[in-house]
Amino acid sequence: MTENSHSFPKIEKYRGFVFVFSIFFAVAFSFAFPIGGAEAFLKSSAYWFAWVPCVLFIFYLLSEARSSGLRNLTGLKQWRLWTFLAVAFACLLLVHAEFGYKIAMDDYVLVATSQNFHYTREFFVPTSGFWKGGGADFVFHDGYIDKRPWLYPFIVSIVHDLTAFRVENAYLVNLLSVGVLMLAAFYFVKRVATARGAILTCLLIVSIPLIAQNATGAGIDMLNVTLLMVTMLIAAKYLELPSAKTEGLLIVSAILLMYSRYESAIYAIPTALIVALGWWRAKRVFLSIPAILSAPMLVGLILQNRIFRSSEALWELHSGTAQAFGFANIAENLPRALYFFFSMDGTLANAPWISALGVLSLLFFLLYLYRELRSVGKLPAATQALSIFSFFIVLNFIILLAYHDGKLDRLFASRLSLPFYLLLALAPGFAFRESFSRPITFRIVTGVTVLFLIGWTLPMNSKQVFTQRNFIKKDLDWLIGEVGTKVRRDDLVIDQYSTAWSIHKKTALKPLVAIQSLDWIDKRLSAGRLSNVYLVERLEYVIVDGKPQLQTSTYPEGIFDRSLLFERSFRPFSLVRVYRLDEIYPERLPDDWVENRIGGNVQNYTYTGL
């Protein structure tokens, strides 16, 4: 060892000073800001908190591409073959695709946020809006700051800016994300395994029905897993040849990753470790502009987290749960996670073959790392990057299991397994990279994967049981698609899911708000400023003495006369009814009725059956 190899990396003093100052500033600003003012600040500044890292990412990506040459960056020597494969894989993913909202209400909320970003640049989920100026413009007037990080709605809003507002733009972003995911996974695995291993990895990713579900929805998870993959790829590139540009790209990519999902903040740690490792290898602390700005860029996220923690309602604690996280939850969630990963019952968006192959590969990968422990620095950069990130992906998975709602076998939670599924799909390429140079091993694994794809994934994607069972989405599709066509600009809809109506520019109020405002509605209806008021009610059947009986209405008796217009059932023993209010009697509302229901819904539509 030379003396030089033990020396501390060199650092430019002024950069170090600015870096420390920016951290101090960011921490002080984030925690000293009063929570009341934080909401207003975030509402108007969130857009720009996403804008800055996005611009920096594009700048550094182009810069990196120019300096290393696009051809070297991606290795596009056989581009015809790769393009063909990319198209073939995309076809397999999309052949049974049904673009639409997949998770209610998450997807609706995200689209609404993107809509508001597009109109006002404000971070705000509209719950209600109205037609201003006699029906010229639709204006949102009520809403809240969402708990979800906002990179995805921000990017969707950019597409709205470029092509005008359309709900379909949300699907387009996820569709493009999955393309980037496949490319990034291909080039990441190709760095250690042969092109065969890389193709197999893409095939394994395509074989996960959860990917197809999320690639055609409007959720944040596809972008999140894509950014995780991109960050790992950049990390590998950085570890291979550390430089200020690559460091900047890696940091800004990690920041975008953190802005894409709540728990992705955890990936700040592996990114920091890799950045430091790069400094150590290069014998230089780069501290590029993104590194210096990293802490201030995260202020928005910290403020949102403070708002999130201050409101219990946003945690959606239900069924008597007292704490959001707890080790006790692992005992319940782990068996359900195992069931999710290995179940063959055909109702979950899982891939048992990928689970089995991935877990086996992870074990081999661990053994391989153990064997190479002494010469870990000589391992391929991608292997090093995966080793560091995989630890945190597993940690993320454990945190998920400790979460009160981390029941992966539930339709609404299974998408949270995507980062772990990505790890399972990447692992074979790393664990068996030497074996894949022998055609027979590659052929067997690929053959089984193709059989799995034909025998499991494609039929699962075709049936989409895991998507179709989303009954709330079904009833909203029907309400907005069929009943919504009859709702005019001077009509009002009273529905628990007012955000969904607002996205489609229908004036809607939540039931509690509407009942609080009965007098106001009555006056407008009498004055002719409202033509019709529609009330959506969801009712359950109960079995009494062996006979089905529809529950009585949850609205106070006698406060309005109503006529039933439509009714339909979307899940067993339940009905969605749409009424038109003929007369409203605000005076009949009991004085304490609203007070007793504040903080809860007029109706509870939380269906625990899935």
Binding site: V95, K463, Q468, Y541, I543, E567, P572
Partner: protein
């Protein structure tokens, strides 16, 4: 001597293929094997077949045969002929209920990889559930291909039609290649032209039945058999046997082609003076085992034979007279009543008789006479097709002039066309006479086949086909609503992934239907039923099928023929007897209040 290992493996697989279905498996186990293994057996056969074709394509002679198809004129001819064949007839159901059964089997293969026709099918909350079912008597290759199309391009009930249209192009190209081998001068054009004069081929190509695939596989087996005999090798033998195995999985009786192919394989061995046995060959008997199981299942289930009337036997000498008369009526009728080609039938007889009578002089005249390459393949499979047609004459459903049965004549007509093509090469030695022959075929097509095809769909005697087409249209119109369709042909809505219930079941389980009508599980319950005029001459309609079990409101109707009409109605009320409790099935919910369990139990209460 063959290699001992594959030979031992061959012997073992023959024993397993026979012993398993005949002695070891119970009928229930046979049903299980067929249900779960058919898909994978056919997939394995197809993969080996395609790999074999890829290897065969490296052979320069074979490659040259096919490169011929890609020359501009030839390519234009193939595309044109395919387009003409597809456009001669309207696309739609041709044989009811065979085609809906195939559509639903393909759906089940696609969704569950099971070879099964489900009994109960419901669409609830957007999810399509299928329960129980029976293994159909029809072999699975066609439905497998349709399911593969579903897998790779998305689920659509029209995939059966799409597949047959795709097969048309392959068939025409292959026929042109085989035609060229039989008559190097003009065979490439003559054989497809002759096929075009037979409307039966166009009818099959525009339906969603398996007959077009069957005739294509017969032709492919002839072609591959000829290639094998011409230059026997293990790889070519494998391909020939795999083709025969896939053919056997296409139609019931096509397993009989295993006999001529077996003989051809032995002739190839004699030619090379070596017994060729490969590992692939040695495993093939296992692929025939499901067919044996299917046969055993058909034999054990008399309903599968669909015996008409009271007569007992599916095969009998007593059917011969009627069937021969029907065959003559089919082959030699001139006009729009039969989807035949009088030209092909007549030419076949004339050329055959001419050549037989003038054989010595013909042979002397043709100094360089030599039979076509691989002639035993043509001869043996020709005898096979003729033998099957002969067997059909003893079958209770063997009246070829009946449009449901005439499609069974397609392999024989194909052999007629191949024979005509070869004999024409002997008779029309002068190029001009050959061209006149081609002109006659074109003239017949333009003068007879085309106008006949334009004026009739040959389905006038089958109101059930029109009923099925109308019903499907109505189901598609209401596809976006979660409705229940109650009808005799319940597989039509099931094919569209909608809830379908047979009228008989609806009547048997009236209580459950009443319950779900009350719960509004389905957006609407639509009833489809037919009515006939009574023969009392009063003009009144007599309602059958529904009885007096339901109160309904008719919303649409369609006249099927002079006396029959099909109605679509909305169910308003189920008329229950006083002692029937519609809530009986809710007893399963006693003591249960968790919605999750309700969801599962809800299915058990369905009619």
């Amino acid at each position: 001597m063959p290699d001992i290992k594959p030979a031992a493996l061959l012997l073992s697989s023959v024993i397993i293929a026979l012993v398993l279905p005949l002695f070891l498996l119970s009928p229930a186990q046979i049903q299980w094997v067929l249900q779960y293994c058919t898909y994978w057996v056919i997939l394995a056969l197809l993969v080996f077949f395609i790999l074999g074709l890829v290897r065969l394509s490296y052979d320069p002679n074979v490659r040259d045969d096919w490169l011929e198809c890609f020359r501009p004129l030839q390519l234009l001819f193939i595309v044109g002929m395919s387009w003409l064949m597809i456009s001669l007839q309207p696309t739609g159901y041709k044989v009811v209920m065979d085609e809906p059964v195939l559509i639903v089997t393909a759906q089940q293969m696609h969704q569950e990889k099971q070879f099964l026709v489900p009994y109960s099918c419901y669409e609830l909350g957007g999810v399509f559930y299928t329960f129980d079912g029976y293994v159909d008597k029809r072999p699975g290759f066609y439905v497998f291909l349709v399911s593969l199309l579903h897998d790779l391009t998305g689920y659509r009930t029209s995939q059966g039609f799409v597949l047959n249209h795709l097969l048309v192009v392959i068939f025409i190209a292959l026929l042109a290649v085989v035609g060229r081998k039989l008559w190097p001068a003009l065979g490439f054009f003559v054989a497809p032209l002759l096929v075009l004069t037979v409307p039966l081929f166009s009818i099959s190509a525009n339906g969603s039945g398996f007959d077009f695939l069957n005739v294509l596989m017969v032709l492919a087996t002839v072609y591959l058999g000829a290639i094998y005999y011409n230059s026997p090798s293990e790889e070519r033998m494998n391909l020939c046997i795999l083709s025969a195995a896939l053919l056997a999985h296409t139609r019931y009786e096509s397993a009989m082609y295993a006999v001529p192919i077996g003989l051809l394989v032995i002739l190839g061995w004699l030619r090379t003076r070596r017994i060729l046995v490969s590992y692939t060959t040695s495993l093939i008997p296992l692929a025939f085992s499901p067919l044996l199981m299917l046969q055993l299942m058909i034999r054990s289930t008399p309903e599968h034979w669909q015996i008409r009337g009271e007569s007992g036997e599916p095969f009998s000498l007593t059917y011969l007279g009627e069937n021969l008369e029907a065959a003559a009526n089919f082959f030699y009728q001139f006009g729009p009543n039969q989807p035949n080609s009088f030209y092909v039938s007549a030419l076949f007889v004339i050329l055959l008789i001419t050549c037989l009578l003038r054989w010595p002089s013909l042979r002397n005249r043709l100094a360089d006479f030599k039979p076509p390459e691989g002639w035993p393949a043509y001869l043996l499979l020709g005898f096979g097709a003729t033998g099957l047609l002969g067997l059909l004459m003893f079958y209770h459903w063997g009246q070829l002039d009946d449009s449901a049965a005439s499609r069974l004549a397609m392999p024989f007509i194909l052999m007629q066309i191949l024979t005509i093509t070869y004999l024409s090469s002997l008779v029309f030695q002068v190029r001009l006479s050959g061209l006149i022959f081609v002109a006659c075929a074109v003239f017949y097509f333009m003068g007879v086949s085309r106008p006949v095809c334009a004026s009739t769909s040959f389905l006038s005697t089958y109101p059930s086909v029109r009923q099925a087409i109308w019903t499907r249209e109505k189901v598609i119109e209401h596809r976006d609503e979660p409705a229940l369709f109650v009808l005799q042909q319940r597989l039509i809505p099931v094919g569209e992934r909608k809830s379908g219930l047979e009228i008989r079941t609806a009547i048997e389980r009236k209580a459950q239907l009443a319950l779900h009508l009350e719960l509004q599980t389905f957006s609407e319950v639509y009833l489809f039923f037919t009515q006939d005029r009574t023969d009392t001459g009063t003009g009144d309609y007599t309602r059958f099928e529904l009885g007096s079990h339901f109160e309904y409101e008719v919303i649409e109707s369609q006249r099927l023929d002079r006396i029959r009409e099909v109605f679509m109605a909305k169910l308003i009320r189920v008329k229950l007897d006083d002692d029937t409790n519609p809530y009986e099935s809710l007893k399963v919910f006693d003591g249960i209040d968790k919605p999750a369990e309700w969801s599962a139990l809800h299915l058990s209460t369905l009619p």
